[in-house]
Symmetry: C2
Subunit: 689 residues, 2 copies
Amino acid sequence: MDMTRETFSKVDVLIIGAGPAGLMAATWMARCGINARIIDKRGTKIFTGQADGLQCRTLEILDSFGFADRVWKESNHMLEICLWNPDFEGKLRRSDRIPDTIPGISRFQQVVLHQGRIEQFFLESLEEHSNIKVERGIFPYTLAFDETKAEDPNEYPIEVVLQHLTDDQINPRQSLATRDGAATSDGLFRSNIAADDDTDEVLSDAHENELTVINETVKAKYLIGCDGAHSWTRRQLGIQLEGEQTDFIWGVLDIIPITNFPDIRMRCAIHSSKSGSMMVIPRENKLVRLYIQITTTEIGSKIERWSINPKMILDSAQKIMAPYKLDYEYCDWWTAYQIGQRVASSFSQYDRMFLAGDAVHTHSPKAGQGMNVSMQDTYNLGWKIAAVLNGTANRSILRTYKSERRAVAQELIAFDHKFSRLFSGRPAKGIMDEEGISMDEEGISMEEFKDALEKGNLFASGVSVNYGASIIVAKEDDAAAQGYEVGVAQNINARVIGKQHLASNIRIGMRMPSFKVLNQSDARPWHFQELLKSDGRWRIVVFAGDISNGNQMFLIRTLSEGLKTLAAKYTLGTNGTDSAIEILMIHSAPRINIELLDLPEIFHPWSKRDGYNYSKVYVDDISYHEGYGKAYEGFGVDKKRGCMVLVRPDQYVSWIGELEDGGEVERLLGGGFMVGKVEGDGEGMEFDG
Amino acid sequence: MDMTRETFSKVDVLIIGAGPAGLMAATWMARCGINARIIDKRGTKIFTGQADGLQCRTLEILDSFGFADRVWKESNHMLEICLWNPDFEGKLRRSDRIPDTIPGISRFQQVVLHQGRIEQFFLESLEEHSNIKVERGIFPYTLAFDETKAEDPNEYPIEVVLQHLTDDQINPRQSLATRDGAATSDGLFRSNIAADDDTDEVLSDAHENELTVINETVKAKYLIGCDGAHSWTRRQLGIQLEGEQTDFIWGVLDIIPITNFPDIRMRCAIHSSKSGSMMVIPRENKLVRLYIQITTTEIGSKIERWSINPKMILDSAQKIMAPYKLDYEYCDWWTAYQIGQRVASSFSQYDRMFLAGDAVHTHSPKAGQGMNVSMQDTYNLGWKIAAVLNGTANRSILRTYKSERRAVAQELIAFDHKFSRLFSGRPAKGIMDEEGISMDEEGISMEEFKDALEKGNLFASGVSVNYGASIIVAKEDDAAAQGYEVGVAQNINARVIGKQHLASNIRIGMRMPSFKVLNQSDARPWHFQELLKSDGRWRIVVFAGDISNGNQMFLIRTLSEGLKTLAAKYTLGTNGTDSAIEILMIHSAPRINIELLDLPEIFHPWSKRDGYNYSKVYVDDISYHEGYGKAYEGFGVDKKRGCMVLVRPDQYVSWIGELEDGGEVERLLGGGFMVGKVEGDGEGMEFDG
């Protein structure tokens, strides 16, 4: 250890792991101006293989950071799922087609693009908006926590020792698989099917070879562990993954297929009669990913994992797909896995150290959930930590990370358990029988499978996530059941409950849906969600109703006075003049009957350099080129009287109320988690978002 | 001159000027693999001001190169034009609203983004697809042409001496204007309103100061002069601009306006009763461009150009906009201009040296045409030169550049003449009179103005361009009138004329319109135009009709044999196996009734590495998420019997015929301009695009 040098530093947020979950956390810090670092032991980002599916909600989130369009452009779009099953003679036949994404649930649909490109978009976004760079080749070594400092916002209770290694020690052994399976023992294979324990190996290698190791001691206010299924951070915290392992072994091939199978560019679920199951995921650049069941009844279940190679996976695929032919010249990546459904016993400690992504939930990859739920974890967590550090929120908000995301992880695991079992099971005989028999004791009914797939698609889209009642979700249900247990419930004596009935399709606890509206000042159509950028701001959306009616306009003028005071009370920095609450309007009067500048100034805030702001008022009216969004109808809001909606910085709906309920929103924000300015500080502030 | 060094080089295409027209030419060369250079005397690209309007057709073209989405995202979208006029009491009032882009004419609408960003997208695209880089700080010095070598395709008849200068000699004096007009005499002002003759100055400066000048002698096969209104290339060729100068002087301000004018984010035409006219163009980044008439009756017409400054332009704007207030803190750019409508007497010499863009047409900037028509010039020219150099076409095709683009330039000038006159004229009294009087001897009728504006919008969109009959446009009309004059007509004895009636909305001579279709193999919706990438290929679009009908499928099988032979005859390189003709199908049978692999192989060409190609067959059917494109209805093609359309590499329609008319398209391609392979060379070729 005489080759070791020591350095010391401090940082507000230390993120361990620069996969999608870690990069999402870093992106929040970048956009909220937080002092953060993100480290990764890998020497480079992913180039091939790994996760690839991107669900609707993930695309909505990436769009809130401004780069979903890049994913949309480069990715393969999956529109239809084709189900292939043996007919009553045992011959493989297309038995059904269903839409891959349920029509209407999002402005995006499920697409496929490999993880490396997603990471690249994050990296470019970080570079554009901050000085945060991924520091590679850095291994966390020890973790210590000073409990006495846990609740003091100015303290750095976390101490991590990091070891910086040289380049040639840290590059993962990624290589292309060859047809004959020569790559069996390379790093890719091991990193998926075996324990990812190369950290210790590499470190001891380094010490043995007396390479220079720089020890850096970092003190941090917050720690986010996004270091994967074999999370070092999780081990340091002594947190366990709980759940079960399956018996099924699956092979994965990313190939350019040479085949006469008719639906190779569709997502397919293929159940053969005797040779197991296979899923087809068409990808970008002519690639297709095949998930292939290896442990068929023919082969038996006693396969040794290290005996698996691409040729063997292809053999299985050929049997499943027979009589159609399948081969390839080009293989981009391959792996095999045997994985169960497991969830971490805890997601955080002291509300200072958090785990996210694969570190807290593992499951099969076939539903394309892994990368998505992982990013959504830190999308939920990032703005909360940033708000606490920026002085906008107090630390109580951090508890909602666990309450909200652990419930999602448990749903995910239940979904995957069911989905995997159905998919790995043998098909029932007779499912294509003309008599319509759909159950069979020997296997899985294809009706059951299709039904599960359709229901699963809603869950898999990510838009059905529904956060429970808490200090930041003012809804009636399950508050007692869930909120008190983990300490996220509102004060029972001053509890605010939103009026769900005022907006039937805006669900409190769910993400704000989107319909097209027009900007009042220039008639440009926007999907409303495009306006809810991830910049750390809460938003009050004033559905102003028909403001060509005098009474309604009177109501809006009255409301505006209160909102002006409210917005001035909460600022993004303790000394800032930039409100932490953006106020937007969607009205339902005819666009040409309303003049923006006739509305209260809070809807067209003024600044000395830029004049009026024209981006706050929208209208539910017909567009010249993109039809009529019918937003009020879509949101389920009364076109005459309107309503008011409080939206969290992550686009989830916190509260719904009448236009007269300004006091309620004030009470909700002020009652628990928001940190307001001292009265009188709001003088002369600008509301320009 | 003892400080001068000499070098020599050869290049196939030399492009002079790296503005939008030059960059478009270079982009074609990049995509077609042509050995080309592009030089510019400026030391840097444009950063502020200059051209900004992007019309529908331009966006379609940029999309064919893959970067319209970047423009669409960053630009300001203009949806509505508001007309403001004095009412009968002389008070300024909004008199009308019209859509800025006529609904339905394109999948894009008019947007505004400054020229510098457009140039940046071109530069990045060049870098991604080629080794072509803009070489800056290079002045063309002499031009010589050897007439004896004009028609020999292997010769380099053009010789240009270039002078390379040092950095500090070449940077244009761009600077921000100050409020008080201190920047009156800077380079920007001069470069717009005065002759752009700084070339000679800078060169003589360099010689006087005995700086090192490198003389490079370049021999080229083709020369494209895109060097602006004061084109050096045009002067060398002795070509004149013909036309007239106007008396009107206009000022231009790019500011962030501080105003209570209600429509500042709309495109507005404001006619004041006594203070002249103004056009409002809302731009990106909160900017607004104001075109302001300076020579009002109050100020008089004897203004000296050098007395114009931002304050003076603002004063005029304030008078026109009264009683609304107008001011600014931030000015991004300003200029003034006095310009007429002029067209070059010729566009080319020897079909070796070509002029494009401002070098051959100048006009007012208010209709946002300059950058667009300039790019469209070289979009027309680039693929033709590339095809000749690649051995796909013979030199006769080059004549169509002049015949096609000079007609457009003349239309542009006529349009601008009318538009400018209407816009600069005084409004008629009484136009808002309740009696509806709309004519007045003293000025321009607002009805006349609105009518001209609406008609002008179609022309301005760029989609109404209709190329005359020629060897590459097989249509009936005006062949004799136009074609023979400039030598582009088909051989009278073997003339092919397309059957326009088979596709009522696909007009021979106009660009292929676009409707949504689905890919047969994966059900993904595409706007058909997205498939017509600018890669130098001709395309035969087989509207196959209802191929679930056996007779129709029989017809398609028969046609396929002929198309296979035809596609094999024309290759992109003389020794290549890559066809210069891509064959696409749009059928009208229900998607799920057709299996791609049941179609003739030409519609799913096979390659050893990639298997079948899934990108050739599309269907007019309903999509899951984007509605029903109704493509056959939109194109005006019979859903049962279909038709066949030949599309040029620039998306213009060359010919339309029956599915039985394969012999006609063969005769058209073989009869004049295409260079085919010797019989028998097509063995074993792949059709993969």
